[in-house]
Amino acid sequence: MKLHSIQLSGIAASICASALIVGCATTPPENSELNQAQAVYTSASNDPKVAQAAPKQLEKASAALDHSMALEKAGEPQADVDHYAYLTIQQVAIAQQLADADAAQAYIKQASTQRNHMLLQASQQQTQQAQMRTQDANAQAQQSQIQANNANAQAQQSQLQADSANAQAQDARMQTAAATDLAAQSQQQNADLQQQLTALNAKKTNRGMVLTLGSVLFATNKTAMSSGGARSLDKLTQFMHDNPKRNVMVEGYTDSSGGTEYNQGLSSRRADAVQSALISDGINPQRIATKGYGEGYPVASNDTRSGRQQNRRVEIVISDANGDFPQTR
């Protein structure tokens, strides 16, 4: 009896234990929570970014996974295994979120550096633009300076030309003045000459200026000069001193009284007498030519006394300025 009761107890205990084992330790189905936990944990733990960003979360996930696996291996209830598998999955998800956030933070940090670089770049661009504008302005200023220099050079050249023109004008004025002076002088000389010739009582003829020394100079048949004739010669002498380039031709004439040969000789002697008087007054003999024309070329009638007196004369032909006689008898 006692043995029986013991056996019954043993059987009952066995049944009870078996029932418990069946209730607690069912085989996990495919794609269970634990399988999923293992998969996500393996994936995350192999990701260095996650490992670096969330080591604590990975550690918790690992512990929960170990726990879940141990429970499953021990045949513990599915709910327990699933619970720790769930914790594993959530910890892995947290770790991944942290890794993502870390990546975003890293991007922000890198982008800030990039932003600073770009700001620097933009600033440099603005500086370069400003420098380029400055260079442009400088170039324009240089060009303006060059133009100004050119203008100055042109102005200087113009000034030189103007100076030169002024000098030329001055020269021209001086030349004009000189010419004017010369002309004035020449006019003065001409005037002087004219005045002298007038004083000599010279007359303009086709043989040039002719000065007639009248009969008053000579008596009939005489060669000696009267005092009035001598004064006339004084004026001629002065004239020849003043006009050293002018020569004279002394021509003697007579009236028709007496023989022709005699009159010829008389006229020559009268011309010579005038020549001698001029020479004695210091005139170069080479400037004085003489010629006797006798009773030829009368200027008045020999029939009257006054006419014959007019024919007795000495004509002095004054040369041109070169000392030549354009026309002789």
Binding site: P77, M118, A122
Partner: protein, 132 residues
């Protein structure tokens, strides 16, 4: 026979002991999970404050409802169930917080990316009006 009987009595005692252990393992024999509940509530509060209601509403709701269930189970004396629910509520809340922080970081990164793009455009086309 007598010896055998004694042995049988011993084996029965062993079986009974093992059975008792097994029964204890299956049913709730855990202590009150007050610490786990506190940690879960702290995590849920933290996630809520961080704005997880906007950025991770599903996870935050899950955490909140599990916390509520955990409190209910503890009140019923189902301590193990309450502990599990509290632990799950905590990781759900922590995940909600992590998602929130990540979303905020991504938003900030987007902002920086857009700003840099605009700046890059400025650098590439210097004739545009300056950003600075």
């Amino acid at each position: 026979m007598k010896i055998k009987s004694v042995l049988s009595g011993t084996s029965v005692a062993v079986v009974m002991l093992l059975t008792g252990i097994a029964i204890n393992g299956c049913t709730s024999a855990a202590p009150r999970p007050d610490d786990a509940l506190v940690r879960a509530k702290t995590a849920v509060d933290q996630a809520t404050t961080a704005g997880s209601g906007q950025y991770a509403p599903v996870d935050l709701n899950s955490a909140g409802s599990k916390l509520q269930s955990a409190n209910e189970e503890e009140a019923k004396g189902n301590y193990k169930q309450a502990k599990y629910l509290a632990e799950e509520s905590q990781v759900d809340a922590e995940l909600a917080l992590a998602k929130t922080q990540d979303a905020k970081a991504q938003e900030a990164a987007d902002q920086v990316r857009k700003g840099n793009q605009a700046l890059q455009d400025q650098v590439d086309q210097p004739n545009n009006p300056p950003l600075m």
